[in-house]
Amino acid sequence: MKSDAVVVGAGLSGLVAALRLAEGGLKTTLVAQGVGSTHLSPASIDVLGYTPELVESPAGALPAFRTEHPEHPYACLSLELIEESVAWFRERTEILGYTGSLEENLLVPTAAGVPAPTAIVPASMAAGDLRSGGHFAFVGLRAMKSFHPAYLAENLVQAKLPSGAAVEARAVLVSDPGVEPDVGALDYARAFEDPAFRRAVASELKVHLQPGESVGFPAVLGLDRHAEVRRELEDALERPVFEVPGLPPSVPGIRLFRALRAAFRRAGGRWVMGAMVVGASTSDGSVTSLSVRAAASRTSAYEGRWFVLATGGFASGALHLDSYGEVRETVFGLPVWGVPPVEEPRFLPGVFDDHPMAKAGLAVDERLRPLGPDGAAAFDNLFAAGAVLAGAEPWRERSGNGLALATGFAAASHILEDAS
C-alpha cells in the first residue's frame, strides 16, 4: 500500500501529526496497534506545569526552561511553533471547546484534590478553575469506586493558591438508584446520555446544593452528547458544572480521540487499527516502507515518502528494556539515549526519586529526526514525536500532552515543508 506519509501510533502525537499531514494535502495513513495515550490521560493540554516549582505562565517559563534543558524536546521547538500548535489544536477540537492559553496556566483539581497546573482544558473542565478560589461541591456517585469526593474536597481546601484566594469544597453524595454496585466511567457516561437518568441525579442533587457553589462531577458526563449533558445539568442545577478527570479509562480523553479521528477521516486520512509494525525497509538512508502485520492476517508493506514514529515510550512498548538490561527501540532498533550503563542503577529506591533512566528515549535533530549511532539523523525521512523522545519527564513536568501536541505538529510541519 502506498501513501505519502505513514504515521505510526494513535496517541495524541500520532493523531495530531496524521491530521495535520492529511490536511496539508498528503495522502496519509495512520497505523496503530490500538488506542493510545488519549484513553488514559485527562485530555487537558499540559504544556509546562512544574520546573519543579509551580509554573504560572508556560509562555513566560519556556525560554529559560529550554536553555536549562538543551536535551529537552522543547529545545527543538520555537515558542511560536508551540503557540501555533495550540491554536491549531483549538480549532480542530472546536466541538470540545478548549479554553485557556500559554500565557497563564489554569489550576484544575485532580481526583486527589490537588490544584494541577495546565494550559488549556476542554470546556467541560473550565468551571473547575481554581485560580481565584471559589465554592465547590463535588459529587459522589454511589457505584463509582474511583472517585472519592470527600477525600478530594478535604485536600482541595488546603490548597495554597498563588493568588492567595481560598477554596471551599465539600462532598455531596447521590444514590443514583437502579444501577449496579460497580459501574465504570464509560457506563456512567452512557447513563448520563439518558435524559431520565441525569434528571434524576439533578433533582436529587439540587436540594443539597448551597448558593454560589459550582458542581464538580467525576468526568463521566456523556460521551458523544457531552455538551448537551452538561448544559442540561447546568440548567437544572442553575450553576456551573464541571468534570474532574480520574483513573483510566478517561472519558474526556476518548472524546478527544474521537474528535481527532473524525477530523482525520474527514481530511481523507486512512485509518488502520489493530496493526503492528514489525519491521522496516530502508534504502540509501531513507525509509521506504514499513512491514505491518494486521490482526490475524499476513504482513504487508506500507510504502511512503515520509514516516512519523509516534509510538510512545516504555508504557506502550515502543521502547523495551530486557531482563539483561539492554534497551531497544522496537520498530527501527534506533539507539536509545539517556540509558545508564548496565552495571549502574536505572531506577532508585524512592518512588519519586530522580530516576537515572527517566528521560530515556530517542535523541533527535532540530527537525525531530531520530539520531543514529553516529549522531546524525538515522534516516532523512523519518521523524519522531511524543513520548518516544528523550529528554522529558512528562509527569513530573506536567508537559505530556503539550509535548505530544507540539512535537506531533512540528514533525508534520517539517514534512509539509519538504513536500512543498
Binding site: 485527562p42 485532580t110 472519592h148 477525600y151 485536600n155 454496585p181 508504557a315 531482563s323 518512588v351
Partner: protein, 532 residues
C-alpha cells in the same frame, strides 16, 4: 520511667511470626492466659517473606534427614488442620542438565529412609504434566510438596488463639525484659500506635523472635547467636508451572519454583548478613535467579517478573560457624535459659522453618509446662484452624468463585486480586489501622500485576470515608503504600513490568498529581490506631 498501663498474663510470647503464633495458639488451647507482642504487624518478618513452599522434606533429605523427617511429619498435619491455607500442587524433583546425575538415586533412597512418599515418573510424563519444563531433564520424582499461604495461616492461628482468650498485640515492641533474682517476670513494651508504654507481667516468657532472637535474649543477659541468612525470591506473573519444581540436587541458589496463587515464585539465595534489618537485594542476585529460572523453564527471562523480595532465615548454631549459612541445620533450637543461662521461666525457640512452626510450638509449650511443673496436653495437631474446618484445600479458582457470588452486590476494588469493597471494609474495621500495607497482608490488596496502580487510590478514598481518617493521614497512607509497592518492583524493572510501572506513574503523578498533595512532609513509620 514507670509504665502507664499494666497487663498480667501467664505466658508472654514475643514475636508475631509463624512460630510465635503457633506458640500463642498452643498456649491458649492448653488453657493458659497468654499475650503475644510484635514490634510490627503479624508475619512481617521471615514468615511473610519466603516462597510459600509446603515442604515434603525432599529438599533437605540428603543433607539434613532430621529436618526432612520433621517436614514430612508436619506436612501431613498442616494438610489436616490448615487446608484452606494450602494448595495441593504436588512437587517434582527433576535432574536438569547442570545437575549431578548420581544425586537422583541418593535422593530417592534418602526419601524412603525417612518416609517421604517418592515415586519416579518417566521424563515424558513429567513434561506432559509441566510442558514448560526444560526438556533436557533426565530424571523426575514426585513428592507431596505443596504451596502454603503464610499470612492466611498466621491470621488463622491468631483468630484461633483469640477464640481461646489470647491477646494478640501487633505494633508492641519490647523495650526491656524484667528479670528479678534470676527469674523472668515479664516485659516493658511500647505501643507504637499510641506511643504508650505497657508493663506486661508474666509467669513465663517465650522468645519466638526468629532472626531477632539474639536481641531479645540479650535483654535478659542471655547470649544467643542467630545467623540471619538472607534469601531472595522473584514472583513471576502467571503460573509458569502448576507443580512445585525442585532441582534434584543438593540445595543451592535458585533451585525451586513454587506456584502460588496466580504467580510462580523462584527462590532462593542464602547469604549471611550482619543485621536482619539492614540488607539489600543486589542486581547480581536477581540475575542469578533469572538464570536459574531459565535452566528450569526455558524462556523464563522473557516472562514478566512482578516483584522481588527477600527474607532472613533464623539459622541457629550454638558454636561459631563459617560464612556458608546453608550448612547450618534447618532444624530448630529450643533453648532453656534456666539450665543454659540461669534465667528461670524463659525459653527461646528459633531456627526451623515455616512448615515446622506447629511442632516448634508444641515442643516449646511442652517445655513451658515442664518448667511450670504442670501437665497439659497439646491439641494443635487435631483441631483445624478457622476456615479450614471443611478440610478442603484452597484451589486456584476459589476467589473467582467467591467473586461470582457477589457480582451484583459488591464492588471490586482490586481487580488483580479480587478484593471487594466488603473485604476491604471488613479488614479496615477489624484492624483499625491506617496502613494500607497491613490491609494488604490480610486481603492481598495491590499484590497483582498492576501492583496497586488502580486500587491504592480507591482504598485511600474508602479508608478516608469509612474511618474519618484525617486527610493528611490518608495522604500519607497512600504515599507510603505507593512507596512500599515500588520497593519490590524497583530491583526487577524490565519488560512488561516496566510498562506497567510507567502506567502507574502516569496515574499517580500525571492524573492524580500525588507529589503535590498537601499535608505534613514527615512520614511516620508506624500507622495510627483508629476506631470505627
Amino acid at each position: 520511667m514507670s509504665a502507664t498501663a499494666k497487663l498480667r498474663t501467664e505466658v508472654l510470647v514475643i514475636g508475631g511470626g509463624s512460630t510465635g503464633l503457633g506458640v500463642v495458639r498452643d498456649a491458649a488451647m492448653r488453657g493458659f492466659s497468654t499475650v503475644l507482642v510484635d514490634r510490627g504487624d503479624l508475619a512481617t518478618g521471615t514468615t511473610g517473606r519466603f516462597h510459600g513452599l509446603l515442604h515434603s522434606g525432599g529438599r533437605y533429605v540428603v543433607k539434613d534427614p532430621k529436618a526432612a523427617e520433621e517436614c514430612i511429619h508436619e506436612n501431613w498435619i498442616l494438610r489436616k488442620i490448615a487446608a484452606d491455607c494450602i494448595e495441593d500442587t504436588g512437587g517434582l524433583f527433576v535432574t536438569t542438565p547442570v545437575d549431578d546425575p548420581t544425586y537422583a538415586d541418593t535422593f530417592a533412597d534418602a526419601c524412603r529412609a525417612v518416609g517421604i512418599p517418592v515415586e519416579e515418573i518417566p521424563v515424558s510424563e513429567a513434561l506432559r504434566r509441566e510442558p514448560r519444563l526444560n526438556p533436557g531433564i533426565s530424571r523426575a520424582f514426585t513428592v507431596p510438596d505443596g504451596s502454603v499461604d503464610s499470612w492466611k495461616t498466621v491470621w488463622a492461628c491468631a483468630r484461633s488463639a483469640e477464640s481461646y482468650g489470647a491477646r494478640i498485640l501487633p505494633y508492641h515492641e519490647v523495650l526491656r525484659l524484667i528479670v528479678e533474682g534470676g527469674v523472668m517476670k515479664g516485659a516493658i513494651v511500647v505501643d507504637h500506635r499510641s506511643g504508650e508504654e505497657v508493663q506486661i507481667d508474666a509467669d513465663f516468657v517465650v522468645n519466638a523472635s526468629g532472626a531477632w532472637a539474639g536481641r531479645i535474649a540479650a535483654m535478659a543477659g542471655c547470649e544467643v547467636t542467630v545467623f540471619p541468612g538472607k534469601g531472595i525470591m522473584v514472583a513471576m506473573s502467571h503460573r509458569l508451572v502448576d507443580t512445585v519444581i525442585n532441582r534434584c540436587a543438593m540445595p543451592s541458589d535458585g533451585d525451586i519454583i513454587v506456584p502460588a496463587r496466580a504467580v510462580s515464585v523462584i527462590g532462593t539465595t542464602d547469604v549471611k548478613v550482619a543485621d536482619p534489618d539492614h540488607w539489600e537485594i543486589t542486581r547480581e542476585e536477581v540475575q542469578k535467579m533469572l538464570d536459574a529460572g531459565e535452566n528450569l523453564v526455558p524462556g523464563f527471562r522473557s516472562a514478566r517478573a512482578l516483584r522481588v523480595w527477600g527474607g532472613v532465615r533464623p539459622l541457629y548454631q550454638e558454636k561459631a560457624a563459617g560464612a556458608d549459612t546453608r550448612d547450618v541445620t534447618r532444624a530448630h533450637a529450643l533453648l532453656n535459659h534456666r539450665t543454659r543461662d540461669g534465667v528461670e521461666r524463659f525459653v527461646t525457640i528459633t531456627g526451623g522453618k515455616f512448615c515446622t512452626f506447629r511442632l516448634m510450638a508444641e515442643e516449646t509449650m511442652d517445655a513451658v509446662c515442664a518448667e511450670l511443673g504442670i501437665e497439659r496436653p497439646c491439641r494443635t495437631a487435631d483441631e483445624p484452624l478457622p476456615d479450614s474446618e471443611s478440610r478442603r484445600y484452597y484451589w486456584l479458582g476459589s476467589r473467582v468463585a467467591q467473586r461470582e457470588e457477589t457480582l451484583h452486590t459488591d464492588q471490586l476494588i482490586c481487580e488483580c486480586e479480587f478484593v471487594t469493597r466488603s473485604d476491604l471494609e471488613t479488614a479496615l474495621r477489624r484492624r483499625g489501622t491506617t496502613s494500607l500495607d497491613d490491609i494488604r497482608r490480610m486481603v492481598r490488596l495491590g499484590m497483582g500485576p498492576c501492583q496497586g496502580g488502580f486500587c491504592i487510590f480507591r482504598a485511600t478514598g474508602i479508608m478516608h470515608e469509612l474511618q474519618k481518617t484525617p486527610v493528611h493521614v490518608a495522604n500519607r497512607a497512600l504515599l507510603d503504600f505507593v512507596q512500599e509497592r515500588w520497593k519490590g518492583v524497583q530491583p526487577i524493572l524490565y519488560g512488561d513490568q516496566l510498562r506497567q510501572t510507567r502506567l502507574d506513574e502516569w496515574i499517580f503523578q500525571g492524573i492524580l498529581d500525588v507529589g503535590h498533595l498537601p499535608g505534613d512532609e514527615s512520614r511516620s513509620a508506624k500507622p495510627e490506631k483508629v476506631t470505627t
